[in-house]
Symmetry: C2
Subunit: 379 residues, 2 copies
């Protein structure tokens, strides 16, 4: 089964605007075994489907009672939300006013979904996908994503290309983004067990080519994986950030349940705050500069000591666009971690703009922590 996704809305074509529903729908259709062959975004203009609109009495009644429940009178402009394409059946929308619609024409199916993700996504899950799965039978398409941090895309590709280029099913795609590389594996098979077995076999071979490097095979991001490990090991964490300005704390606290392992974060942006909150000796800053290996170490140790946690992390660097020098260019970041007797520190030079440098610094710190928790050497 092949599908085209059409996003309708003039605002979706505004420069800089990213339309996200299509990507979500494409991913879910793919997993259900539907081949997405086109995605289109068009402005709000009448499109000729060759079908009339018919006002549905039952939908109109439901609309009116929805407004009544909210204690409001329905303006007549809302009545058009009870219109269906001729021959279509409605997909109820308990989370909004506009229902979805579905029309079958010969072997083709046209599905209309509402725009707000919180209305569209449950309608897709609960109504559209089950309907399509019925039509598809047992031929399925399954996916797995292997995630790697701290390796350039070209290094990952060089390590795994001999494996994945020799395998036609599953198909492997490499997606690189700052601080992370993903291997997307897609298998087709007669039934989920066969497809999953093919995925697992290829994943094992790829993992062997990247020893200790694959941090996730279940969709979790690096912060979730690290919080999970901290919980398992019953360790606690405090972080001290300068150039990343709270981004590491924020990414950790975005994980539900982080409060059981994350005690506090120190965003020590000014030099004075590094001394007052972390006890960093002003003489160290004077002698080596705030962006230096010794200050990163002092920040990590100060964070652990002041918070009385088992682990401390320190990050200091030049995020740019200003403040760089020949000796300490934009992108230079010093990371340090202390955990029991395990002391690690690294000097990194990240490419890109301010946002990208800050993100990569937090990613490298999380990977440093993950490797420490797993007893792996730093890279």
């Amino acid at each position: 089964m092949r599908a085209e996704i059409v996003a309708v809305g003039s605002e979706l074509l505004a420069p800089g605007r990213v339309e996200t529903n299509s990507a979500h729908i494409a991913a879910r259709l793919s997993e259900a075994g539907v081949d997405v062959v086109a995605r289109t975004t068009v402005v709000d203009e009448p499109k000729a489907l060759g079908r009339r609109l018919v006002r549905e009495a039952s939908l109109l009644a439901a609309l009116r009672s929805r407004f009544a429940r909210l204690g409001r009178t329905m303006a007549s402009v809302n009545e058009k939300q009870a219109d269906l394409l001729e021959g279509a059946f409605a997909l109820p929308n308990p989370r909004g006013t506009a229902p979805g619609q579905c029309v079958e024409a010969g072997s083709r199916v046209v599905v209309l979904l509402p725009g707000p993700p919180r209305e569209m996504e449950p309608m897709l899950e609960e109504q559209v996908l089950p309907f399509l799965r019925d039509k598809l039978g047992t031929r399925v398409l399954r996916r797995k994503v292997l995630k790697v941090a701290g390796m350039p895309e070209s290094d990952v590709d060089q390590a795994v290309a001999p494996v994945y280029t020799s395998v036609a099913n599953p198909r492997t795609t490499i997606l690189g983004s700052p601080g992370q590389v993903e291997l997307h594996l897609t298998a087709t098979g007669d039934g989920e067990p066969a497809a999953d077995a093919a995925l697992d076999e290829l994943a094992a071979r790829l993992r062997d080519r990247l020893p200790g490097r694959v941090f996730s095979e279940d969709g979790r991001g690096l912060p979730e994986v690290v919080v999970g490990l901290l919980r398992e090991l019953r360790e606690t964490l405090a972080v001290a950030e300068s150039c990343t300005g709270g981004l590491l704390s924020s990414r950790l606290c975005a994980v539900p349940g982080a409060s059981s392992v994350f005690d506090r974060g120190f965003v020590t942006y000014s030099d004075r705050s590094k001394t007052e909150l972390l006890g960093v000796d002003p003489a160290l800053v004077e002698a080596h500069g705030a962006v230096s290996d010794v200050v990163a170490r002092a920040m990590a140790e100060g964070a652990r000591e002041r918070a009385r946690t088992s682990i401390g992390i320190g990050i200091t660097g030049v995020a740019g666009p200003d403040g760089g020098s020949l000796e300490k260019p934009v992108g230079l970041v010093h990371l340090a971690l202390c955990r029991g007797g395990d002391l690690r520190a690294r000097r990194c030079l990240f490419p890109g703009d301010r946002e990208r440098i800050r993100f990569q610094a937090t990613q490298a710190a999380l990977e440093m922590l993950r490797r420490s928790l797993l007893g792996l050497e730093d890279v």
Copy 2:
């Protein structure tokens, strides 16, 4: 002039893949006064343009000499790169092997561009845009975006609809996202001055309908606007965050030059850290709970006092998915700000998931700060 952009390539439809050329082309076409009405991504399959391919002797010769310059013999598989659509003229590609193409059919123009951005972008700038500008004359399209924080989309719409629905040019589109509403104005006119004048006139009328609410008309986000105001007023800031976990600090520090106004952030996730770092009285937490008006105020005051800044902000709330109760449900956030004698506090209840609640809390805190700096009352 209206345009559709078609991106061709099976790999562009892989889940998670973002196709970036279309956005670049759409932005450049818009600025040149071309109205982009559709964007499409399709798999690699022959599409019927109703034109034959013709092998061009001159292109073939150029290809061969390119290979010769690189000291390589050209394999015959490359000869198809010298094919042109019947009636097309070639757009030379000094940065790669595949030329662009341009076909005119009546009032329509079809332009084919190579995929790699480093080949496509210069070809667009140097060859395609000048060609289109010749056709367009002086008719241009200009845009302006008005941004509003802290108002639901429906309230903004209700306030401004009487204005924008009565004006056909510029056209207005409302875009709502958590914590922010944007009014996108698009004007067409004979020349930039005429289009800009129409934009400015409508913007002034919309601004009048939203007194004190429009925080940006120049593309800047709320953190940039707030950092700009702090710099102008020579004020300094320290923030204390619980449920937002460093996100407010991180958004502020994402602005280049934030270091001149942002001194430090306290991510006081544990109750103990609120007392140790901010001096919050444990009896207050005991009596009212960590998520309470009095604790938010104590956090704001503690941050300002400990950092000796002119402004302190405190945020505490229930980001979920767990930890909610009947009295203090998921989404409840207390904000407080102290600045000289200006003390502000607000109780908010945000909808959505953990990520959305945290983002909206930082957005509300930034808007509270912006209003204080401008001498506007809190909302």
